[in-house]
Symmetry: C2
Amino acid sequence: MATIYDVSVLAGVSLATVSRVINKNGNVSEKTTKKVMEAMDSLGYRPNAIAQSLASNRSNSIGILIPELCGPFFGNLMAGAEKRLRDANKHVIITAGHSNEESEKAGIEFLLSRNCDALILHLDALSDDYLEALCEKGIPLVIINRYIKPLHDRCIYLDNKTGGYLATKELLDLGHRKIAYIAGPHWKEDAKARFEGHTQAPRETGIKLENELVYMGDFKQESGTEGLKTLLNSNHQFTALVCANDEMASGAMAYAREQGMQLPEELSIIGFDNIVYSSYLFPALTTINYPVEEMAKMAAALILKEVYQVKGLKISNEFYPTLIRRHSVLPEKG
Amino acid sequence: MATIYDVSVLAGVSLATVSRVINKNGNVSEKTTKKVMEAMDSLGYRPNAIAQSLASNRSNSIGILIPELCGPFFGNLMAGAEKRLRDANKHVIITAGHSNEESEKAGIEFLLSRNCDALILHLDALSDDYLEALCEKGIPLVIINRYIKPLHDRCIYLDNKTGGYLATKELLDLGHRKIAYIAGPHWKEDAKARFEGHTQAPRETGIKLENELVYMGDFKQESGTEGLKTLLNSNHQFTALVCANDEMASGAMAYAREQGMQLPEELSIIGFDNIVYSSYLFPALTTINYPVEEMAKMAAALILKEVYQVKGLKISNEFYPTLIRRHSVLPEKG
DNA sequence: TTGTAGGCGTTATCAG
DNA sequence: CTGATAACGCCTACAA
């Protein structure tokens, strides 16, 4: 691989001059620039980003840490951030945190060791304290889907509680009184908030929901299946089911079908996230929209603004869930 | 951030010695090792991967280029490779090629400029020639889902043609004679091969399929919807539909539902890929299994073997599709 | 406008 | 077993 040195020799100029034309800083005469350019592509020269990064302490790359690399939710998160950043000529380095503390820590270390200029983090396990410490070290970071008070301007988050509220409220408004719930793991903040919203809705209007009608899932499809199975076997009647995310909802729907239930006639189901294929389920899933791609773009914008001093960017930290009505919910006919 | 120099001072040894204990090469006395270790964690020292990479010309990171960061297929591809590599203490750097030549080239350049030790590529647009040239430059790479003869031992590919054959064969065996097809874009090799398999099946048994019953999609859900709509309006009857991937199949199913069709009674549908949610569709989708995660792991293994000299790894380059029977296909009752 | 030289944090090759 | 010291490829004052 040709180096900047080879270029300088071939162009008959100094290292410094070549560096200047690469970075388009400093003043270089048109003639010299041309010479250098020609030398560069006659050699097929490509700057070594590693060396640039070491010398300049800038890598033009942003680290992204997410729990898993697959799945529709995180897919959109990655895609949103990558798109926005690519447009600004920055690159992303992505790694998985696998929802456990050690792994999340290792992921952050890895990203930092790669000289990332900033981090976008979707964490499940790491403590607020750790993140605050990170911030204090001067590491620019943006936290997605989590609200940490002292770091509020570095958080891009959704009002999960309101989302949970909206879902259950919709069912209540349609006359449902026996509503089951398949939850996400309560040690995840978003799952907890969604559940709180779920309990708030009936409380407001003096309605009581049965505690037995709650199943603890893990946000994966299988646990939706498992959840509905358990609920159905519990001898508690219910006419509607709220799932803490769409994946569990689709798992539950598949199980309902398997049991020969008519949907939505025999059971109204509502999800959360509005992942891409929720509208392709049958019946199309009524759900709560989680604008994750927008949020990821916003995270990217925040970094562009703070770290790279891009002007004219408006930042909003809080995003709001909305109800998407489709065909998986029917009024209670009782 | 503490450097190796700080550590050496605090431990009262030389740079070289510290480097030795970091890399566990060279012989260092137990006593010295201990001193250095203590100095390292009292300083919270973490090696700067960038500097290591520059000095050693090894980055322990593997570049992955895929068309899109989201979507179930590529999600599994990433996840498979990342898992296998992480187990071997290597890291991945992921970037998107967006299915166009320029972008794919830029992606590769980016990965190379980050000093990746090897590349895993899923390309759509880049020519064989370009890849061969890359190989000749001595850049270790693995190509997924594409067969390039001169590079055959660096390719991990699926027999897409057989897959296409299996799908249509299944329908023929069940008595279907009017079979529509929603294709992927023919400039993508896999799409082309699948279609060839589709046409081979009837030819074998002297059956003729109508050419009009083919719609050109783009592998996205919407084009499945659009495709079925077009097909239905074409005034050509058909009792079964083959889709070149599951996403288009789900789009088609949603449209069929919308039109009030009974599935699978009024139309048998078969997909390709066996993406994670195909079993959650209703009816659960009969499809062709594409072991993408396995293949990605194999790609990783190939790199571990060739680049990092890991012993005892068995490599297979070709993978085979299998028919997954679920509930979206019924025998033709004509 | 251009060139010189020191430095970024490591690794690796020598001697000792 | 340990320590100097020259790379690695580039950036960036500072000089000229």
